[in-house]
Symmetry: none
Subunit: 199 residues, 4 copies
Amino acid sequence: MSEEVPLRDQILEISRHLLYEEGYKSLSMRKIAKKADVSATSIYLYFESKDHLLHTLIEESVEDLSRFIESKALPKADSIERFKAITKSYVEFGLQNPEKYEIIYKVRSDSMARYPKEKFRKARRAYELLVKTIEESVDQGLMEVDQPVVAAYSIWAQLHGVVSVVLNKRLDSRIDREQFIEESIEHVVQGFLIRTTVL
Amino acid sequence: MSEEVPLRDQILEISRHLLYEEGYKSLSMRKIAKKADVSATSIYLYFESKDHLLHTLIEESVEDLSRFIESKALPKADSIERFKAITKSYVEFGLQNPEKYEIIYKVRSDSMARYPKEKFRKARRAYELLVKTIEESVDQGLMEVDQPVVAAYSIWAQLHGVVSVVLNKRLDSRIDREQFIEESIEHVVQGFLIRTTVL
Amino acid sequence: MSEEVPLRDQILEISRHLLYEEGYKSLSMRKIAKKADVSATSIYLYFESKDHLLHTLIEESVEDLSRFIESKALPKADSIERFKAITKSYVEFGLQNPEKYEIIYKVRSDSMARYPKEKFRKARRAYELLVKTIEESVDQGLMEVDQPVVAAYSIWAQLHGVVSVVLNKRLDSRIDREQFIEESIEHVVQGFLIRTTVL
Amino acid sequence: MSEEVPLRDQILEISRHLLYEEGYKSLSMRKIAKKADVSATSIYLYFESKDHLLHTLIEESVEDLSRFIESKALPKADSIERFKAITKSYVEFGLQNPEKYEIIYKVRSDSMARYPKEKFRKARRAYELLVKTIEESVDQGLMEVDQPVVAAYSIWAQLHGVVSVVLNKRLDSRIDREQFIEESIEHVVQGFLIRTTVL
DNA sequence: AATGAATGAGTGTTCATTCAT
DNA sequence: TATGAATGAACACTCATTCAT
């Protein structure tokens, strides 16, 4: 009764998994089909083409990421709190949903050329939230930032670097994972706050 | 007379280029061969397999990165200067040698499973240099860092995020590239220096 | 009210069109279904198989051709007039109903092996009329023909050649279409009439 | 020793045969390969694509047809003799080389769109010869023809009709094949000669 | 040092058709 | 009368690799 998972969702789930485990290059319609225990043809009942399937995967992942960040950040009234929530939840999402996170950053670049521009814009909801939050903090004199847009991008990039290193398991064995994450976020964040407390 | 470029090197050069231009998935022995104007079979005279060719490519790129950083950093006697030189040259290398840089980070993850562990260690020369430099700075009371190993990794990751965002041309159009790079490095670096000057 | 076109007829119409526009090879049940805005399965409610559908198409076209020729030729009491009417209407039909004409000659040969013999005979009504008309003309001393059956076939073949060349747009650009048709028919016809007027 | 037939030629031969026997639609690289007892991949060593293979086939057939007609017609000094030789050899070629003849007329129309224009021109060598021959006959007062170009095309078309009917085995069982051919050519030819002898 | 010939496995995709509803 | 779900077979084509020369 409860195992009534629609094939379409199953396909997405399996694709996501295979993509993560074996990489983009080795993802094939047939492999997906075999794992789902259906014929390769059946996939085409739900997705026009491999490209469409991949785009759906990207879209879904981006949407999830955006929603997750919003769910954590929007409730915070205080702009700095919101800022921290964004950075923290971004990393959190990446680490807890490695399959989805990697799709956003790895598949996208390969399948990008054919990815519809309109959907592309949607993808930036969370980023725009970060920009707005920085602007607000600046207005309130809590941050000193030349160009919020640049700062946001820089933060984005740095956080991505952190997540990506952890996910790729390139962590030095001498390093404690949790500590690394904690400290990295802290560093990224602190770099942008005004250090009134220093004195 | 001067155009006597060994085929082996030509193959590596072409592979690097194709890899960057068309992505890992679409790199094929045949395409390499056609570009080099030799038979596909000939590649096998110099490389056991496609995997070996890719590994050579990775190795070479890592070596170049290490050497470049060393050439910029080792001459600096002052540990902070050396620290700055490392971060700056890391980004510089990435932006000036996108083909090599991408091989390190993109191909590696796909081809990783089969990448020999021993070669893997070599790859970290520049990273170890960073660790040592941080330790030195800490000893000299110029940095306040709990675990140099963690800090180094965090820096590494953040810088990678910055380079990767720029290379993937995912820069927001409202953002000036040079400014973004400059500020990002600055932020990463400043986050680790002791702010004696603040007062 | 007036747009109540039975699905069966719609399917035939669409098939005919697709066949003409995109060729036999690319005609598929799915494409037909999509154009008719029904499911592919629905076609099977009216036609046992693709072969049956094609055979229906052939049959229909042959029937139309026969009827058209009969409508033009049968009213003519004079045998020579009837003869001319047959040749003229044959070409006319081909040029005005290219979709149907091509089905008769192009699809048939491909789908032939499986085309039921009995239906095959029906197809020759117009041809038999031509034979009879020639026989009548011979009896009346207006034509000099050894074997009406052979002559009829020869005429048939030549006319087909003419129509087919025009339909395939293989006409030399230096040639006026109408003139070509006119003259070709004239030649075919004149070749069989007794040239009493020559003297 | 003597069975040293190059694979390339074998493939062409087999393709020609399959094309004739089973039609354009059912011709597949796999079937060709199987008949040649090689892997499907091997075909690609000799032909870039299926299209290229088909084009080669067309080209070859057209060339053979042209050469055959030229070999029969060019030696004739007398223009009427040459005219007759052209018509006769055209039909002869079609009947003796049905596989090649059908390729010219059947495959061409399907594969046409992609058939290079330049090669297309070559295809008309024999037709141009017919035009020239008619012009010469007209100049010598042996033929009365308004536009040689139109006449040539008409003849071409009619002959094609004749050959095509015979090849498609659509001949009425009451008809003697040889007689049909003979009489049809005769009719086509006579239609264009000046009937000085009639009186 | 280099190649031409060959291949088995695999790719994304289309097809006619069936079956349960 | 109509359909959605499903499939096995086939398609053109690409791939990394081998082997004899």
